[in-house]
């Protein structure tokens, strides 16, 4: 914040004090979200080469002589400045990447960090000169590689580092000392000034930024906005959960003949398809106030997965979604219990028919593997715990699955006597109920871990008691925090968070500050306020995530005031075919493993990137075509009976068209779109390419100019990767 200098010295002292107070108060409410960019220090004798010293020596100081070359397996010290560490932030917050002449990327583990004596603030990073990713063989010791240090999503300058010997590689960015954070050209800010971060935050916390949310964040800041969101009723009052009655399993019984009539089709669509869920979902994403809860519930639906058509009725899916949204800001332990007893889940993973006479392992296995702790023991920062042979340690084995299977026996649908019990239909609305006669009451051995909670369950207990004992056994497993934390970071912020980031979020999971474990508000706050998430620009080449199809659609629609086809009202929310075209059919993931696994690695790379599971040659063109569709077309009104899209869906480009019409150079149009879609990160060359295409459109067709620019941004990888 630049203190405005008032020239007359005689300015009233009281005014000065007042203005200082205001400045200070604003600073307290809205701390600068930007971290400084780390600077890798170059050698004394060569500005293109990283200063490097052999690791291991007791005294940590910057070498005054020439930097050496290193062998694979050595330890080396690199020196960085321009970083400000938080308490507890250390080596795991840094990554060191090396790139060889073939553009192969390696990562050297950072195993230590020390402050250089007497030289604040310079830090020595101790790295193992050995690739830890394992996609390629170790780099060859035949000369220089380029290295960078990344921290909080920011990249350092790039310098040479000798492997075996020096030479053989020209630096791409010679002696680039710092990458300055972009100065922002919006002097009219009111409160939360960091406009890039505002848009980025909204991409992470909502279904897409738009003007009104941007203004609101600018006024109240992200912390207050989070607090507001935590308290909003859900869903929006204008878009309540539809109350759809339970129907018989058999469609022919549930919907009266004759088939093929509009009444019959409407009955089938309403009860036996996901149409009501999907349209409700997109309407809430388009127009809902409680964006954050909707977004987190959507993420959780990709963790605790159930899906159509196995989930047959919309009413079943709504009851399941309600468990997600009820608990999105609650406690994870409650979510575990309510989801375990949710009938859609009970049916999907077979717990609802598992008895001591014929047990079914499905739910027992997947709650451990997919919903809570995963396969291998982790440290709090999500890195794998290793045994004495450097091997990962399984969290459980088949015997454990057998024992949990016994815990989960005896539960079934409450078809009689519950609030929603319906004659002739299975009760998918009320929680499963226990039939103790079908419950296996033998002794059970559950998860074993240090200070394990309920590692065994004694024989002869009631199933109701056991389910709480067993869920506590899972809930207190040390893996739960990093497992849930990483998953939500991946869905909201970035695909491959640093261990430091995961560790901070896991710490919030483990203790919300008041001694409570599993507090989702604390977890969400930790994820979205973390310095690795925040800031105007992220320069780390491994920062970001592919927008999943649903997010790609809602982000474009929301930013441009999504309306009905004729622009007179709201969209009906029926955009499912667009999403499905890109291989994501909402609430119909192919299996319990979701649309993409959380550990998906992009083929041909070592990049962790879950959403890329839906990105291949075919769907990349689908995404391009969707860019064309969104920019140049709309979903027109459906005239069938019943109509699937009675209102249709369009974007409103009037405002952008006015901008384009007022400025024949199209520069202002590009400014606006750059800000709205790319939070002012569009490169000069991308801008130049778009301008060429825009200026090829006659000046008297401003609407066409807007659509051309919109297509080129929306279809670009630069936009499709959320950073």
């Amino acid at each position: 914040m630049s203190g405005t200098t008032r020239s007359p010295i005689t300015t009233c002292a009281a005014f000065l004090v007042l203005s200082l107070l205001v400045v200070q108060a604003t600073a307290q409410i809205f701390p600068d979200p930007n971290s400084p960019s780390p600077v890798l220090i170059h050698a004394f004798d060569n500005v293109n080469r990283a200063m490097a010293a052999p690791g291991g020596s007791k005294t940590v100081e910057m070498p005054a002589d020439k930097s050496a070359a290193f062998r694979i397996g050595d330890t080396a010290r690199l020196f960085v400045k321009n970083v400000e560490l938080m308490p507890g932030e250390g080596a795991s917050a840094f990554r060191v990447y090396a790139r060889d002449e073939n553009k192969r990327i390696y990562r050297f583990p950072v195993i230590g960090i020390e402050e250089v004596a007497g030289k604040t603030p310079v830090y020595a990073l101790t790295v193992k000169v050995r690739d830890e990713i394992g996609f390629w063989e170790q780099p060859s010791e035949t000369g220089d590689v380029e290295i960078i240090v990344t921290w909080r999503g920011l990249s350092s300058n790039s310098l040479l580092f000798g492997l075996g010997t020096f030479g053989g590689l020209k630096p791409e960015n010679p002696a680039l000392e710092t990458k300055e954070v972009q100065e922002l050209a919006s002097p009219e800010y009111v409160g939360y000034r960091w406009s890039g971060d505002r848009i980025r935050f909204l991409e992470q916390a909502t279904f897409g930024p738009n003007r009104s949310l941007d203004h609101r964040i600018r006024r109240i800041g992200i912390r207050t906005w989070l607090a507001e969101q935590f308290d909003l009723p859900y869903p929006s009052s204008s878009n309540p959960y539809p109350n759809i009655p339970l129907k018989p399993n058999n469609i022919q019984t549930g919907c009266p003949e004759p088939r093929g009539t509009p009444e019959y089709n409407l009955c089938v669509r309403t009860h036996y398809t996901m149409y009501p869920v999907q349209t409700w979902f997109f309407k809430e994403a388009f127009y809902g106030e409680p964006q954050l809860r909707h977004r987190v519930a959507w993420a959780l639906s990709q963790l605790w997965v159930t899906s159509a058509p196995t989930v047959r009725q919309s009413s079943h899916m709504f009851a399941y979604h309600k468990v997600l949204s009820d608990n999105a800001f609650g406690n994870y332990r409650t979510l575990m219990k309510e989801m375990t007893l949710n009938p859609a889940m009970g049916d999907y993973l077979d717990m609802a028919r598992s008895t001591k006479f014929s047990p079914n392992e499905n739910y027992a296995r997947e709650i451990l593997q997919l919903f809570s702790i995963g396969l291998f023991r982790m440290n709090q920062d999500g890195t794998l715990e290793l045994d004495e042979n450097d091997e990962p340690i399984p969290t459980y084995d088949q015997e454990t699955v057998n024992n949990f299977t016994k815990v989960f026996t005896g539960w079934t649908f409450c078809n009689v006597g519950c609030p929603n019990s319906t004659l002739g239909a299975v009760n998918f609305k009320d929680p499963l109920v226990l039939n103790q006669n079908n419950h296996d009451v033998t002794e059970k051995t559950l998860l074993q871990y240090p200070n394990a909670v309920n590692p065994t369950i004694a024989a002869g207990m009631n199933g109701n008691t056991e389910i709480d004992l067993a869920l506590d056994n899972i809930f207190y497993h040390p893996n739960l925090g990093p497992f849930v934390g990483r998953f939500l970071i991946q869905h909201l912020v970035t695909s491959d968070p640093t261990p430091a980031y995961i560790g901070r979020v896991a710490a919030a999971f483990n203790n919300n500050g008041s001694g409570v474990r599993g507090d989702m508000k604390a977890v969400i706050r930790a994820i979205l306020l973390d310095p690795e998430a925040r800031g105007d620009v992220k320069t780390d080449p491994n920062f970001g995530k592919l927008r999943e199809p649903v997010q790609l659609l809602t982000n474009v629609y929301r930013q441009f005031g999504v309306t009905s086809a004729d622009g007179s009202g709201q969209s009906d929310g029926y955009i499912t075919p667009l999403s499905t075209y890109m291989s994501q059919n909402p609430f119909a993931a192919p299996t319990v493993f979701n649309y993409y696994p959380p550990n998906y690695v992009i083929p041909g790379t070592a990049l962790l990137a879950p959403e890329f599971g839906l990105m291949n040659t075919g769907t990349s063109i689908a995404r391009t075509n969707i860019g064309t569709f969104l920019s140049f077309a709309a979903i027109e009104v459906d005239n069938r009976n019943p109509p699937n899209y009675p209102q249709g869906t369009a974007i409103d480009l009037d405002e952008m068209t006015a901008v384009a019409a007022a400025d024949p150079t199209a520069e202002r149009l590009l400014d606006e779109l750059d800000y709205k879609l790319m939070h002012d990160t569009m490169s000069a060359s991308m801008r130049a390419s778009i301008l060429n295409a825009v200026l090829a459109v006659p000046v008297d067709a401003p609407d066409f100019r807007v659509r051309t620019a919109l297509f080129l941004i929306a279809s670009s990888s630069q936009y499709q990767i959320q950073r």
Binding site: F135, L349, L578, E636, A650, N692, A693, L712
Partner: protein
């Protein structure tokens, strides 16, 4: 006023091919929008059949229950017979009645009769299914195949003296291992991709399309270090449209937009995710040029997901002379085999679809003169427990280990079982729960999860050798192959 969009559509209609788009909008038919345009130019067939070979992987997602795909149909006293099978499964309602089995006579089993799942026979309105191909010597089964680090007995399983595949019985991990072709550690690449890495320079020098095509998205199996598969939609989308961006016409405005689209993809690649996404689009657009025309297949394929996938494969094979590639690997998948419940109807439906689709594909290969050049083989997550899960109408089975896999084509030495002997001296396991082939530490929890005797690597190496992988490259593609005695299970002629 919201007229701008309509006005635009009117103004821009010609330039943008807006009529096409508008139709697509109205019917939501982005995929099916354009009428299929079959290029009827005569193809020169001079190079047909000159050394072309293709492997087609049919993945049965979820873990097909092999115990109900191949059932003992005999009363032998020396090895597991129908009664052993029936005793394990009929009380819960999971046993297939003996009279419904489709009998096969198995030389390797002393000529004893086994039975295929009844869904693998003829279908009214369809074709004769896979069963008929057994009798014609075109269909073989590799039996008791599974993930292994090295061969393992039950005693070794119990005393942990031999390394086990990591995370047995877990879907994702077992799928990865089946597709990776190794079970000792995580692999970034699949065995199909690594075969392609080794053979692309010699067998696909022009690279008009990658050596591997998936009709079911990105798969570990199809990924090598240098090989990235083409992944395209099924036959509902004409081959010339699967990778074709819409909305670009010949007018200058459209061309300027296209030029910018291409320029933007070439820049800002400092971010690795941007780089990856742009590279995928690059390869899509390169392949799009090669797929600009195609000829329709002859045989009627079933209109099922797996049928449409295999039909798309058949279209590409028919286009081989244009694509100028001597070796191709394809991946298709039918999910839904994770039958923890409702297995009786569910597996019959799924396996029936596979049988019909694979048979149609085989018949099309015969028509194309490719049935000796194209070998179709099955993979799946794992086998399933002999002991059922649940009982009655909703009965199913849980995750198991070894499985039986079909292989078919005219290059297959069909009509027999192939594998490594189990405890009973044959490659078909002893079906006794808690018996000598059951992987269990605790008799009380025994479910009948058969310990594999032949590894995924051995199965895959047999296929890869036929495909043309050099002997000395086997350990490159299958790093762990040295842990197993034989690298050829013998089912390829």
């Amino acid at each position: 006023m919201k007229k701008s969009r309509r006005r635009f559509i009117k103004q821009a209609g010609c330039a943008l091919g807006m009529a096409t788009l508008a139709t697509q909008v109205h019917h939501f038919g982005l995929i099916n929008a354009l009428a299929q345009k079959v290029d009827d130019r005569r193809r020169k067939s001079g190079s047909l059949g000159t050394g072309y070979k293709a492997l087609v992987c049919v993945f049965l997602g979820g873990g097909n229950d092999g115990n109900n795909m191949i059932v003992p149909n005999h009363n032998s006293g020396s090895i597991s017979n129908y009664s052993v099978y029936s005793a394990a499964r009929s009380p819960q309602g999971l046993a297939i009645p003996q009279g419904q089995l489709l009998p096969i006579s198995v030389p390797r089993m002393g000529g004893l009769s086994y039975g295929l799942h009844p869904s693998m026979g003829p279908v009214v309105g369809g074709n004769n299914g896979l069963h008929e191909l057994w009798g014609q010597g075109k269909l073989a089964f590799a039996t008791n195949i599974g993930t292994l680090v090295s061969p393992m007995t039950k005693a070794q399983y119990q005393n942990n003296s031999v390394s086990k595949p990591y995370q047995l019985f877990s879907h994702l991990d077992q799928v990865y291992q089946f597709q990776a072709g190794r079970s000792d550690t995580f692999s970034f690449t699949g065995w199909g991709g690594r075969v392609s890495d080794e053979m692309t320079s010699g067998s696909n020098p022009n690279g008009l399309v990658p050596m591997i095509t998936s009709i079911d998205g990105s798969q570990l199996f199809t990924s090598g270090q240098s090989t990235q598969a083409l992944a395209i939609a099924d036959s509902n989308t004409p081959l010339n449209e699967v990778l074709n961006p819409i909305g670009f016409e010949d007018d200058p405005i459209s061309q300027a937009r296209l030029q910018a689209f291409n320029e933007i993809r070439a820049i800002d690649r400092e971010n690795n995710y941007v780089e990856a996404a742009s590279a995928i689009t690059d390869s899509a657009l390169e392949a799009n040029d090669a797929l600009a025309s195609y000829q329709e297949v002859t045989v009627t394929f079933p209109n099922t997901a797996i049928g449409r996938q295999l039909k798309q494969v058949a279209r590409i094979i028919k286009k081989q002379p244009d694509l100028n590639v001597d070796r191709q690997i394809f991946y298709v998948e039918r999910g839904g085999f994770d039958t923890h419940n409702n297995q009786v109807g569910g597996q019959a439906n799924n396996l029936g679809e596979v049988s019909q689709a694979v048979r149609a594909f085989y018949d099309e290969m015969v028509v194309q003169g490719r049935s000796s050049d194209v070998t179709t083989f099955m993979m799946t997550d794992f086998g399933r427990t002999m002991n059922p899960a649940g009982a009655g109408g909703s009965v199913g089975s849980d995750h198991g280990w070894s499985n039986h896999l079909f292989v078919l084509g005219d290059a297959v030495d069909g009509g027999d079982f192939y594998g490594i002997n189990t405890s009973n001296g044959t490659p078909f396991p002893n079906l006794t729960i808690d018996g000598p082939d059951d992987a269990t530490n605790n008799s009380a929890n025994a479910r009948g999860r058969w310990i594999p005797t032949a590894s995924v690597e051995q199965y895959a190496a047999t296929l890869a050798r036929w495909y043309g992988l050099e002997e000395q490259d086997l350990p490159v593609v299958f790093p762990n192959i040295g842990s197993f005695s034989s690298t050829d299970l013998g089912f390829m002629l």
